[in-house]
């Protein structure tokens, strides 16, 4: 593959992202255009922005790699990533928007009126955000390695600094238009090459894809349990991802938040039709990746293998650009969210300078993690972030929104027991202390099956045991969460 084209594509994506962000804000508007300027973000636009921020390196590179190695069972990942939005829609979307919370700690404080719970939630937000950032950095490092042949660590460091500088300088704020642009870029970057790849495959005589000699690196024992662990984590974890929650604030009201979520479902559903194509073709044309090597690279390598020539180079460059867009949008969104939490709840005073400091802090930890920890497949480590989110934030959000008897001690117990145990399991798995095969490893690698019930149970039981601690404003909060806009605003437009 020609490196020049790919590097040019990556540079173009970075530049375009910064430019769209810069100009989207700086277009001056006169009063006559005020109604255009002040129009709140429509559900479809916001949905594209959410999708743009959500589709990460795990979606762009990881799924195809996993499918290539482990076969179609891995398609539970994209289904789970999508279905997570359905669960978010039916339990959380509208009430969360109506709560007026910008971040999860905001929600916890507003609902439970406790600084203590707020701080604990902040810790978990940072933890989940970091877990999610590690694979983004590793994915980006891998991309750079394949594109330029640079050593892996250099890619991680380089890319982490790019994001820190961009976020801290304000060039990569979670501006709606930038993220919308990112979504369409990612879709195009997978769709167009996919069409050419499928055509090339037909020219090749449409050989059948077989998964008979499935290699299962650590899925051989208890695959059914792993599947359920994956389902629970992704279905229930989406609602707690910090960069997802922040985006709902942009919806003008709860009703639009719901409609936005449906549009997100459709948009990411369309996107997820593509990675399996790459996985299947990779099985045929990059079989060496099954046995060791970075399977995540399959998407990047395929155009060169199948199409070749200048066409292959250009398609490869397009994919590289898309992969970089995936990495940039998710990483900057996550860094923003984590840095926001650090600024508000860790650093003493607020202000722009502190936000910059927080950005560096937000990136340092996952960078260290990505350098020290051995490479786990991108999609798998993202799955761990989902497991932590599902065991801590899902009980907090669902019970906080629908159950009046939730108390601060209950929330703390649930967060610590559910989220804490999930986090510990993930940490033990990543550290490699418990190795496959065997139940201990399976239980620790896919903790959601047991840690989510633990989180819910702890929250409910401790809350029931501390009825005196029900926050005074519970009824007011419930009314605010659930009352339709037509009745709260007192006037309508």
């Amino acid at each position: 593959m020609s490196r020049t084209y790919a590097v040019a594509a990556v540079a173009a994506v970075v530049l375009a992202t910064v430019l769209v962000g810069g100009f989207g804000l700086r277009i001056s508007r006169t009063t006559s255009d005020f109604y255009v300027a002040s129009r709140t973000v429509r559900p479809r636009l916001n949905a594209a922005a959410i999708s743009g921020e959500y589709l990460s390196a795990a979606s762009f590179l990881g799924i195809a790699g996993l499918v290539l190695v482990h076969g179609p069972d891995m398609l539970w990942y994209p289904v789970g990533y999508t279905a997570g939005y359905l669960v978010l829609l039916v339990f959380v979307a509208a009430p969360l928007r109506r709560s007026g919370a910008y971040t999860l700690p905001d929600f916890a404080e507003g609902r439970l009126e406790s600084r203590q719970v707020r701080r604990l939630v902040s810790v978990f937000v940072a933890a989940a955000g970091w877990l999610y950032l590690v694979p983004q950095l590793q994915g980006a490092g891998l991309t750079l390695k394949i594109l330029t042949g640079a050593p892996g660590w250099l890619g991680d460091v380089l890319v982490a600094s790019v994001v820190v500088i961009a976020v801290a300088a304000g060039g990569m704020r979670s501006i709606t238009f930038v993220q919308v642009f990112q979504y369409w870029l990612k879709l195009t970057a997978l769709l167009v090459p996919a069409i050419f790849l499928v055509l090339a495959w037909q020219d090749d005589g449409s050989p059948r894809v077989t998964f008979d000699e499935q290699l299962s690196v650590f899925r051989a024992d208890h695959p059914l349990y792993a599947t359920y662990g994956l389902i629970v984590a992704t279905f229930l974890g989406t609602m707690g991802l910090p960069h997802v929650v922040v985006r709902f604030y942009t919806s003008p009201n709860g009703r639009d938040a719901r409609r936005t979520t449906v549009a997100v479902l459709a948009l990411i559903g369309v996107f997820y039709l593509l990675p399996p194509v790459y996985g299947a073709l990779g099985r045929l044309y990059a079989p060496e990746l099954i046995h060791g090597g970075d399977a995540d690279a399959a998407v990047l390598l395929l155009p060169g293998r199948l199409v070749g020539g200048l066409g292959g180079d250009l398609l490869g460059a397009l994919i590289a650009g898309g992969a970089f867009a995936a990495f940039l949008s998710t990483a900057s969104g996550l860094t923003m969210a984590v840095a926001g939490v650090i600024t508000q709840d860790v650093l003493p005073s607020r202000g722009v300078r502190h936000f910059r400091l927080a950005t560096v802090l937000a990136m340092c930890v996952p960078l260290a993690g990505s350098l020290m920890v051995s490479r786990v497949p991108v999609a798998d480590s993202v799955g761990m972030a989902f497991a932590v989110s599902a065991s801590s934030f899902c009980p907090l959000l669902v019970l906080g929104i629908w159950w009046r008897r939730l108390t601060p001690p209950g929330a703390i117990a649930g967060l610590l027991l559910g989220g804490g145990s999930a986090f510990l399991s993930v940490a033990i798995t990543v550290s490699g202390a418990v190795r496959p095969p065997g139940w201990p490893h399976a239980l620790l690698a896919w903790p959601a099956v047991w840690s989510v019930p633990v989180g819910f149970l702890a929250m409910v039981l401790v809350s029931l045991a501390t009825p005196g601690r029900i926050p005074a404003g519970t009824n007011a909060a419930m009314t605010r969460f659930h009352l339709p806009e037509a009745l709260t605003s007192g006037r309508h437009r």
Binding site: V79, F211, I231, A476, H482, L487
Partner: protein
């Protein structure tokens, strides 16, 4: 942009009286029912699918279901839920404002 007149029940809700609380709780129950219905459909289907795949042992089926067929139903359930939730809210607003059903 005429201001909505403040209705009696509305002020019960605003002031969080016992009666207002009853109204809000009934709204929450109807919304929770809608959410749980959607979630149950999802959980039952998704919960049994791995077992079905395990029993049939057909890679083609897994490809077809997880690669393509899963997404339209997800969007359809979401669409149904949004319609149901918005209807609940309209009904509730009508109940509070004391307007007869059209």
């Amino acid at each position: 942009m005429r201001p909505l007149p403040r209705y009696r029940t509305q002020s019960e809700i605003d002031e969080q009286t016992a009666l207002g609380g009853a109204y809000v709780r009934s709204l929450m129950r109807s919304q929770l029912r809608a959410g749980l219905t959607a979630f149950t459909v999802l959980a039952v289907v998704v919960g049994t699918l791995p077992l079905v795949f395990e029993a049939l042992h057909s890679a083609a089926l897994v490809w077809a279901v997880l690669g393509f067929a899963a997404y339209p139903p997800l969007t359809l359930i979401a669409w149904w839920y949004v319609r149901r939730a918005e209807r609940n809210e309209r009904d509730f607003a009508r109940l509070v404002e004391g307007r007869p059903a059209p």
